[in-house]
């Protein structure tokens, strides 16, 4: 009887393994792994479907794409830690620079694709409860008494780092001193009850768990949240000024060459700039790099009075990372959860 049980299980393994073996990619085809940041889940669902359709038309063997999502910094470290991704579509250039520094791709990676390797951009906006009961209109409202702010953890999330730089820029680019900016950040993070690892985690905390008065979110994330919750719980507030978030994409040469997927991966990245993909991007709430597509979707992307860049705020990502997010940097100085 026992053997019977064991035999059944053995057959079970073989069957499941056979079933599982056929689960990955096309029949003997290529499967690309795209390591991305947190809010791009729906975006890449659409992109990957479209890509597979077009690639299927031009490739003899089937191409499949899988995507992994998480906080941008955490994802970069995962690649360093052995996650065999062919393509990186992370939240900021620094997270890909980290990979370049370790030899995963050449240092001039950003100039290999148009628009500084950014097929889409975004900005930081505020997501609030419908009716905006706390009357949050601009950055200064975030540090008012009684306002609770949700943002992810800058140590792991790309979106969180854009948030911090946007807040800093709001002070320093309007004539404020570094001291004042530091104070502003300290007060801001004093209003933050919890730091999730990624932008989507913060969205879940804000929306599903109902915590906080305002979520500092990617414009795309805010649009998605409003769409998914039916539009009667949340609204997006566009502050007068914000930071232009430029999430780049790149081929991870070392992994693609080792896995023999270079050609397919390069085609995947080029696909992101085609009209078809740009349309998907715009509909997902990301600002497309193609001016024509952006114009068509003008209504979804209200203008800011001012969108400053990371260069203006800190001189570039390398400088920003060192000054703000490295151990002992500005963020470590201002974030005091025990108080």
């Amino acid at each position: 009887m026992d053997e019977g049980v064991l035999m059944k299980y053995a057959i079970g393994i073989l069957a499941a393994a056979a079933g599982c073996g056929g689960c990955d990619g096309g029949a003997g085809g290529i499967e690309l792994l795209n390591v991305s940041y947190d809010p791009t889940r729906e975006l890449f669902k659409g992109i990957n479907q479209a890509f597979v359709r077009t690639a299927a038309a031009t490739h003899v063997r089937g191409v499949g794409v899988k995507t992994s999502h998480g906080g941008s910094g955490a994802q970069a470290r995962a690649v360093l830690g052995g996650l065999k991704a062919d393509v990186a579509t992370l939240a900021l250039a620094f997270d890909i620079d980290v990979l370049a520094d370790k030899g995963f791709l050449p240092r001039d990676w950003q100039s290999r694709l148009p628009n500084n390797s950014c097929p889409y951009t975004s900005a930081i906006v505020f997501l609030v409860r419908k009716g905006n009961p706390k009357k949050i209109r601009g950055w200064d409202d975030l540090v008012r008494e009684g306002v609770s702010v949700i943002t992810p953890n800058p140590k792991t999330s790309g979106g969180a780092r854009w948030n911090v730089l946007a807040a800093w820029g709001h002070v320093t680019l309007n004539g404020g001193s570094e001291e004042q900016a530091r104070d502003f950040l300290a007060r801001l993070f004093g209003r933050v009850p919890v730091l999730d690892a990624g932008a989507r985690g913060s969205s879940t905390t804000f929306i599903q768990l109902g915590m906080g008065d305002v979520l500092l979110a990617w414009e795309s994330e805010a649009a998605l949240a409003i769409r998914e919750t039916g539009g009667d719980e949340l609204e997006a507030v566009y502050p007068a000024e914000s930071i232009l978030a430029e999430p780049p994409v790149a081929l991870i040469d070392r992994n693609a060459d080792a896995r023999g997927t270079r050609a397919a991966a390069e085609e995947y990245l080029r696909f992101l700039y085609t009209d078809e993909a740009q349309e998907v991007i715009a509909r997902a709430g990301f600002r497309p790099s193609s001016a024509a597509t952006l114009e068509r979707h003008r209504a979804s992307f209200p203008p800011f009075r001012r969108l400053f860049t990371v260069k203006e705020v800190a001189g570039g990502w390398k400088e920003a990372q060192k000054k703000f997010f490295a151990a002992g940097g500005v963020f470590d100085q201002v974030y005091r959860p025990e108080e």
Partner: protein, 271 residues
């Protein structure tokens, strides 16, 4: 049973030790190796910084509270299941085992949904100021769920064995119901109750999945030790993660030692 009267000792013991070593001992040893890669000062900081202390306090405090609460709830449930007869009794008895069989992620998912402001329970509890999510109370709540069966299942056999004869004897000697319960039933039940509470405590301390869904994972408020470990891991602070894990592991071993002691003591008392 004499040594090696039967063949096969070498093979089976060898296989056992190999499997044990490779799968259990070496990985666990890696934990201590990693933790010791930190300097003593770093190690101390990783283990005793305010956020870690808050995490330990919450983990052990909430687990203890949940275990004690289950002591009471479990006693009532076990009593009713053993002493009373009613239609649907075996259904209720089966229900008790659900936390054993239900994955923690599902428990977390449904509790988060239930006690959030829009959930069935949350919709009238939240206006009363009772938050079953995002608070230390929410942590205790799911811990009660996952560890309830331990108390009930520890008590049931003892209550069954006890039977009603002792109670009837006390009653015929003139004791009031309350006296009977206090002096006849309770002392006999106490060892099993304590064992059950200890098991519940151990289970609650190890809980992770359900707490992740409901608690909001707020440092210094609802962040349990396991969560702190994951945070450290996500920041690739391996040493810090290993250090906190080491503390948690030692505590778990100590708790288990206590449980073994309690259950041996309680079995001695039964005979």
């Amino acid at each position: 049973m004499a040594r090696r009267r039967l063949p096969g000792f070498g093979l089976t013991m060898g296989a056992t030790l190999l499997w044990l070593g490779v799968l259990v001992l070496i990985p666990l040893a890696t934990l201590f190796v990693t933790a010791s890669s930190l300097s003593p000062a770093e190690l101390w900081k990783a283990v005793s910084n305010p956020r870690a202390i808050a995490a330990y306090k919450l983990t052990f405090g909430a687990s203890l509270l949940a275990a004690v609460i289950n002591g009471g709830l479990g006693l009532v449930l076990a009593w009713v299941l053993v002493r009373y007869d009613f239609p649907g009794k075996s259904f209720v008895d089966g229900l008790i085992d659900i936390p054993f069989a239900l994955p923690t992620a599902v428990a977390g998912l449904t509790y988060a949904s239930l006690y959030s402001p829009k959930g069935w329970m949350g919709q009238w509890l939240v206006p009363l100021g009772i938050w079953g999510v995002l608070t230390p109370f929410s942590v205790v709540l799911v811990m009660v769920f996952v560890s309830l069966p331990f108390v009930v299942r520890s008590l049931q056999p003892v209550l069954e064995d006890l039977g009603v004869e002792a109670e009837e004897a006390a009653d015929s000697l003139g004791a009031s119901r309350w006296q009977t319960l206090r002096h006849v039933v309770f002392p006999n039940v106490l060892p099993a109750l304590l064992t059950g509470i200890a098991l519940a405590f151990a289970r609650a301390v190890g809980e992770y999945g359900s707490i992740v869904f409901v608690s909001g994972n707020i440092p210094f408020r609802t962040e349990i030790a396991s969560l702190l470990i994951v945070s450290r891991l996500e920041e690739y602070d391996f040493g810090g993660a290993a250090a906190v894990a080491g503390v948690l592991l030692f505590a778990s071993f100590a708790i288990n030692g206590m449980i073994n002691f309690l259950s041996r003591w309680s079995r001695r008392h039964e005979g």
